[in-house]
């Protein structure tokens, strides 16, 4: 098992992220201010609504959901697409392809380090603060374990989507355009900017089967024990959906990548 080699990449990633010490502090601070903005907006929205519960979500539910979604977003954010386009333009991609490790595996494990750092530095503190402020509105129990599992699956789904979009960069220089389309779609359809519970009925039905939901909505729903995820019958379809998308996107990504690399090498791109 070459797990040690993989963990070495994780370690290097952790060290590199910590090099940016001031950057890390500023990131934390900026996040805090952002959350304050989110708080005021939804406070105003709920105050104007006049009712405590809208679409089955109380103000506290919505806040926890959005704050944790933001934290998850920061923790899951990857720059694979940008890195890829830069290494294509500089020609470094050739070196990446020649590395003794499979390119996909290599990229995944290189990012794992910064994931660990960001999870500890952004998600965990946010989680603790939310827990204290809401006086235990987050159920604490076995759901935490399920949440961790769901997050790992979300990470894989997110990575697979990133890789597929990054592969498109082999064909066009328009990285900005491709990236913004991806980001916009993911943010809207995953429920990171507005909880899916607020979506109109038909729209929500469609979105529930798309992979984007597996990234933010499912882990958070499980954590908050909503939609019957406190029972096994409610939980299994969620994990099933995540797993299914993991497999589909990974396979599709690998096929697309291999096909594209072959095509590019043949054309001498």
């Amino acid at each position: 098992m070459n797990m040690r080699r993989h963990l070495a990449l994780t370690r290097a990633g952790i060290m590199e992220s910590l090099q940016y010490r001031l950057g890390t502090a500023v990131t934390l601070f900026a996040n805090l201010i952002y959350l304050v903005l989110v708080y005021f907006l939804w406070r105003a929205i709920y105050d104007s609504a006049g009712t405590e519960v809208v679409n089955g979500m109380t103000f506290t539910d919505t806040m926890i959901y959005l704050i944790l979604a933001t934290a998850l977003f920061n923790f899951l954010e990857m720059f694979v697409v940008w890195d890829m386009s830069r290494s294509i333009q500089s020609g470094k991609i050739i070196l990446d392809l020649l590395k003794p490790m499979n390119f996909r595996t290599y990229t995944f494990w290189s990012y794992s380090g910064s994931h660990v750092v960001l999870f500890t530095l952004t998600f965990v503190p946010t989680f603790i603060v939310v827990m204290i402020v809401t006086h235990g509105a987050i159920p604490m129990g076995i759901n935490l374990l399920f949440f961790i599992i769901a997050t790992v699956l979300a990470l894989i789904v997110n990575f697979s989507m990133e890789m597929i979009v990054a592969t498109i960069c082999l064909f066009t220089e328009s990285t900005w355009g491709i990236n913004i389309v991806k980001e916009t779609i993911v943010l809207l359809l995953s429920g990171a900017s507005i909880p899916l519970a607020f979506f109109p009925e038909l729209f929500r039905k469609i979105v529930e089967y798309l992979p984007f939901r597996a990234v933010y909505d499912i882990p958070l729903t499980i954590l908050l024990k909503k939609n019957g995820t406190d029972t096994l019958e409610g939980l299994l379809p969620m994990f099933g959906l995540q797993l299914a998308w993991c497999v589909i996107l990974t396979v599709a990504g690998i096929l697309f990548w291999n096909h594209s690399v072959r095509k590019i090498t043949v054309n001498g791109g």
Binding site: Y20, G23, V26, A30, L37, A44, I180, L187, I194, P200
Partner: protein, 276 residues
Amino acid sequence: MSDTTMTRPKAKRGFGFYARIYRKILVQDLKSKMSYRADFVISTFGMIMTNLSGFVTFLILFKNFPTINGWDYYHMLFLYGFSLVALTPVQCFFDNNWNLRFQVQSGDFIKYCFRPINVFFYFMSEVFDVKGLGQLAFGIGTLVYAWVHIGIPVTPLVIAKLVLFLLTASLFMIAIMNAAAATCFWIVGSGYVMVIMFRFKDFAKYPSSIFHGIFRILFTFVIPIAFVAYYPSLAILESNNVPVLTWCAPALGVLFFYLSYKFWMLGVSRYDFTGS
């Protein structure tokens, strides 16, 4: 000064000089952009998607909550359109801020320091982003639609006010992004500051009366997102009852822009160029 090169008479490099240079760079840049049509199409598509998604978010929100802090649908839509138009200049003319940290880190930034022109100008002039124009069209459409439904009279005075306050609003957004970008001169890995500041702009389209206490001051005078749409647009929406801060906005906008420029230039002078 015996050498001939030293005595060559020099005209002053004033506003006219910079305007002329910018125009020339712009024309050349547009010409070369025409040759990358695929990029243009994809980027425009991306821009339309972002705006559509922002709009959909807005619609979903209003489907669930009919008013926010006493603001109804069309007034909110007006604010939304106003903020989109006000964002155009920062996107079209100051987009190179996004490249700043890469150039600073790699040391490539040094090339801007060897010319006898303003470093800030030289740096910003390098990129004109056409994509911002798509957003402008979207913003104007939204603004006009809301305008008609609210029933604001169209007089030359109102139009003049609109232009003035749109420009004011832009200045605040430019100032925010300049300052955010300039942090990279001091802080390695500060890219996230820009990302989050740019995300703050999404909150500009809500009335800043939703903020309370110290945060109201923070979002008005420190990170002035309240000025990116809310205060300037009150000049049109509440023409009978314009708050003092709205009247101060143009002067404050110039001040914020000036301060952000100074901060940016301070970064340049403090920077060690050790990247090479």
